[in-house]
């Protein structure tokens, strides 16, 4: 359950590490869910759908780049604009392509892929090793991201751009291009994360498929202190609470209206932020547009 959120969280982390707050997350995830579903539906290939989702994410990540990097506009508002645009586009294109059928179209989702041997470990086995292949990929991305971020020159450049773009520029790093890359990567990850919902968790695209969970990832990045491992932890905890909330609903052990449970993830995010934001040090150049003329 945490996998798509982790995917998007990692994306947001890359973007913020480079100094750009990417609020297009909710919209791009939705667009990824729609485009992934549509392509998968018509092509019959789930992977092609995933590729389409990632591509749509890259396109709108680049749009964020134009707005926030090249034009230096308010990152908050441009992100909101991108989300609104992508949300509208998702609904519009879906309606255009599929109309309003009485029987919503669906695809055969990714089947779970138990890892032989490991899945037989009692108790943990099914919890950890009986997932769709996407989940494994997402979790593999965590060490990959950590390696990229901390052990490659590219990662160093990225981090410097986010902390002190002037220094990075002095060292010859193309600040703008670096930020574009980060935004496009984040877009790709958002799109992929979104497509997980329509291609793996469920088997169709519905308008409410993301329902605000994209925004939670913004908080998860802060809680995860902009570090891949901690973000993974944050996403897992959140996923656990979300799953718990579902279980509590159907379990009937606690007789609260089900909406209270739906509320829990959001409430928990706020509380977590309140408790843990105090010492969070964001990348120093986050939200500051970098303008060549103002060097």
């Amino acid at each position: 359950m945490a996998a798509p959120l982790l995917c998007a969280t990692l994306g947001e982390m890359f973007s913020e590490r480079a100094g750009v707050l990417n609020l297009g997350i909710e919209g791009i995830m939705l667009l990824g869910a729609m485009s992934g579903f549509t392509v998968a539906y018509f092509s019959g290939s789930l992977w092609l759908g995933m590729a389409a989702a990632a591509t749509s994410g890259i396109v709108f990540g680049a749009l964020m780049g134009v707005l926030a990097v090249t034009l230096g506009l308010s990152q908050h508002v441009s992100g909101l604009g991108v989300t609104m645009l992508c949300t509208g586009l998702s609904f519009y294109c879906y309606r255009l392509i599929f109309g309003q059928p009485s029987q919503p179209p669906n695809v055969e989702p990714f089947p779970p892929l138990p890892i032989p041997g490991l899945v037989d470990i009692p108790f943990l086995g099914t919890a950890l090793f009986d997932h769709v292949v996407l989940v494994y990929l997402v979790f593999a991305m965590v060490p990959l991201s950590a390696w990229l971020l901390y052990r490659t020159p590219w990662g160093l450049s990225l981090r410097t751009v986010g902390e002190n773009p002037q220094a990075a520029a002095g060292a010859g790093v193309g600040v703008a291009w670096m930020r574009y890359q980060a935004l496009m990567i984040s877009g790709a990850l958002f799109g992929t994360g979104g497509a997980y919902f329509s291609l793996a968790q469920f088997n169709a695209f519905t308008f409410g498929v993301i329902s605000g969970r994209g925004w939670v990832c913004i908080a998860l990045v802060v809680l995860g202190r902009w570090d891949p491992w901690r973000c993974a932890l944050a996403a897992l905890i959140f996923g656990a609470v979300d799953a718990l909330q579902l279980r509590l609903q159907s379990g009937g052990a606690i007789h609260l209206p089900y909406q209270i449970f739906l509320m829990l993830p959001f409430l928990m995010t706020v509380v977590a932020m309140a408790l843990l934001s105090r010492n969070a040090t964001a990348p120093a150049a986050l939200l500051v547009p970098y303008r060549l003329e103002e060097r």
């Binding site: 609104m84 645009l85 949300t87 309606r95 605000g212 209206p257 959001f266 706020v270 934001s277």
Partner: protein
């Protein structure tokens, strides 16, 4: 050849007025591609959009009525953004105000003359209180305002649904909605044979009042100062945290009034679909209005027109109604780009004259 951006000292007045218009036109041009993709002809489609919004007296008034909550949320966001308090929570604050109004409006014991004022007051207070939560979180715990306000929207929505599906459910209806408010609590209609209710007048009056607040009072000055440069404002002796907090409450109160208007003037009850995203549209409106309270009114009208017109356009031409949402997002982006021209002069630089 490079593009250079030189900061402007002032923006010429004609540019200030022209920019939103350009942004809107650019948006319409961009979205025309989508209309074509839907297989409809562009000009007739826009014609249907316009006719749906202003084609008849009834339609025009409907558009104005639909604009009322948007004026309130636009004002709410405009005030908040001026202080750089990123209030994305207008949606939740609206619902808080709506619930307060519906509650007050349902109380049997109140005298008739007291109903409207108490609903209005209650709604504003409820919205303001709800906004004080993210404000406290920001000031005391450094929680990002975007995340806090956004999350709380969902919290308020689900809380409302829990009430509507449970203790506040109308026993006469099969759906989760609240009982109707008292007949006497309904806002008076200001124009016969239309739905033009008191809330619309309140919205227009509020726009003027907020403008006065922002431009003619010390608080308004403090708010703008904090937004421009919080550190400088602090040095000048302005209590930054207190100003941000006050701004949030005002913002929440305005959004709450949007809810009051919808309950007391339009729907007379609280239900799940009370707000089709008015709080979020308020953000676009505030930006289109360049955070100017007076500019919020025409911007709100524009959006009300787009939303009303899109439905009728959708029926006539088969273009999906979500075009309205796309126009919303696209105009926000176009407006942002247009603002660039307001704040900077764009100069093309030849390499030889660098």
């Amino acid at each position: 050849m490079r593009i250079r951006l030189e900061p402007r000292q002032r923006t010429p007045a004609w540019l200030n007025l022209l920019l939103p218009v350009i942004a809107v036109l650019a948006t319409l041009v961009l979205t025309s591609g989508l209309i074509a993709a839907a297989g409809a002809e562009v000009i007739p489609a826009y014609g249907a959009l316009f006719a749906g919004a202003f084609g008849s007296r009834f339609n025009s008034v409907e558009t104005v009525v639909k604009a009322a909550p948007l004026v309130f949320t636009g004002l709410a966001v405009a005030v908040a953004f001026r202080a750089k308090f990123w209030n994305i929570g207008a949606e939740g604050q609206l619902l808080a105000g709506a619930m307060a109004a519906a509650f007050v409006g349902g109380l049997e014991g109140l005298p008739v003359w007291a109903l409207a004022p108490l609903m209005i007051l209650g709604g504003a207070i409820a919205g303001g209180l709800w906004a004080s939560v993210p404000a406290t979180l920001k000031v005391r715990y450094q929680v990002d305002d975007v995340v806090a306000t956004l999350m709380l929207n969902f919290v308020m929505f689900y809380a409302m649904m829990a009430l509507l599906d449970g203790p506040w459910k109308d026993p006469l209806s099969g759906y989760p909605d609240s009982p109707d408010i008292r007949i006497d609590a309904e806002f008076p209609i200001l124009m016969v044979r239309t739905r033009l209710h008191l809330g619309v007048a309140l919205a227009l009056i509020s726009a003027i009042l907020v403008w006065l607040l922002m431009t003619r009072t010390t608080l308004g000055f403090a708010i703008r100062a904090v937004g421009e440069n919080a550190r400088a404002a602090a040095h000048a002796g302005i209590p930054v945290n207190r100003v941000v907090f006050t701004t949030a409450i005002i913002s929440g109160g305005l959004a709450g009034l949007a809810g009051v208007g919808e309950v007391a003037g339009m729907h007379f009850q609280v239900m799940a679909s009370l707000s089709p995203g008015y709080g979020y549209t308020g953000i676009v409106i505030a930006m289109l209005a360049r955070l100017n309270p007076l500019g919020v009114v025409p911007a709100a009208l524009f959006f009300a027109a787009v939303t009303t017109g899109a439905e009728s356009m959708s029926r006539k031409t088969g273009v999906p109604v979500f075009l309205a949402d796309i126009i919303q997002g696209a105009s926000l982006i176009c407006m942002l780009v247009a603002l660039l021209f307001a704040n900077f002069r764009v100069r093309l630089q030849h390499p030889s004259t660098a």
